[in-house]
Amino acid sequence: MLLQMRAASFAQGSRVIVQPQTLSLAEHERLALGCAGDLAASALAMMASGVVKASTGHVFVGAFDPRIQPVQAKRLATLVPYAPLTLDFPSFERYIEYRAALWGLPFDESVVRARRIVEQLDGVHEAFAYPLAGALITQPRLLVLDRPQIAYGARIAAVAKHCAVFSTHASVAHAEEFNLVTGAHV
């Protein structure tokens, strides 16, 4: 299994943000999960990508527990955040250079790969296309999408065909809509 959650929840103090979740996702599978709201969806996506540690229960990304081996977990899973890119970067190449440096990737190769991905994302606004391309240049085995735009679902599914995709949504209805356009499980 590429992603496993066993009664994994996330809480801040006494406030439970993500109720206990049990799920599993194999290589190349797609799963769209409806959550109890925006904050829960965001927290769950961060848990699945190893950015946030589960308060209770267990999360495994591949064979790695992000609480113990966060760096190894983050090499397998890459998060695409909800918020669009602010486009404060002077150029697309500069943004990809920044992403490549964080992941320790060769710059030239990453730019070529990113340009190819952005070409495939025709019709997707730059502010959403660039973070997705930035995530995919790392060639993740698991792509985690925090509340992706449903309108871009088909394009996302097309460019992310070589990896498993886990997406979180603010409601079950949104997850079902996303499923309709991408063919993910709900």
Binding site: Q12, I17, L39, L105
Partner: protein, 199 residues
């Protein structure tokens, strides 16, 4: 094949976003130094250290603002150890504070009685205080204010020590900076970016 270090990328990207603010701080430092030109080296030392510390604290707090949110999520989702991210982020307020102090001494350095040790002392002090101020960015509520108060108090303490014993102030600055950076790295490793109110 061109590769960049993660630290360099984080520092350059964040500094670019704060370049206008850092430029403004340097400009204010020039004016402040001009105002204190004939104030004597002791007052200049106090002015440089307190102004540099305030600049460092301000820029440290802005590291966790909404302006940096997209960078922060990107850095947190990258396969980097918290200590690497902590070191890179700590460099930004240190650079800003050093620019403030540097700009101050460019003008004040021409005044009679200016001393190289005063420049070194004020630079060391502001660079020690900023990692402490960074710890405030990972806390909420009264704990955040507590760290800001600690940083401000340390600024006053280091200034007072510099006026008597600059080598002692340099040593204390080194110890303070080291402990502050260690604590920031450890806090960053435990920190969940979801705790931001903007989420």
């Amino acid at each position: 094949m061109k590769r960049e270090s993660a630290t360099f990328a984080i520092v350059v990207t964040r500094l670019r976003r704060l370049s206008v603010l850092i430029g403004f701080i340097a400009l204010v430092a020039f004016l402040f130094a001009a105002l204190q030109f004939r104030a004597g080296v002791a007052m200049q030392l106090i002015g440089a250290t307190l102004f540099g510390s305030a600049s460092g604290i301000l820029v440290a707090i802005l590291q966790r603002g909404s302006q940096m949110r997209d960078l922060e999520l990107c850095e947190q989702s990258a396969p980097l150890y918290a200590r690497e991210i902590a070191r890179a982020i700590a460099l930004i307020p240190c650079i800003a504070a050093s620019c403030a102090v540097g700009a101050y001494w460019i003008i004040a350095g021409f005044s009679p009685g200016a001393h190289a040790l005063a420049v070194a002392g004020s630079l060391a002090s502001v660079n020690a205080i900023t990692p402490v101020a960074l710890c405030a960015t990972l806390r909420l509520g009264w704990r955040r204010w507590l760290y800001i108060a600690i940083a401000a108090s340390l600024s006053g303490l280091l200034t007072a020590i510099q006026l008597r014993e600059v080598p002692a102030a340099l040593l204390l600055s080194g110890i303070t900076g080291f402990i502050g950076l260690r604590q920031y790295g450890e806090a960053l490793a435990r920190w969940d970016p979801i705790s931001l109110p903007s989420v």
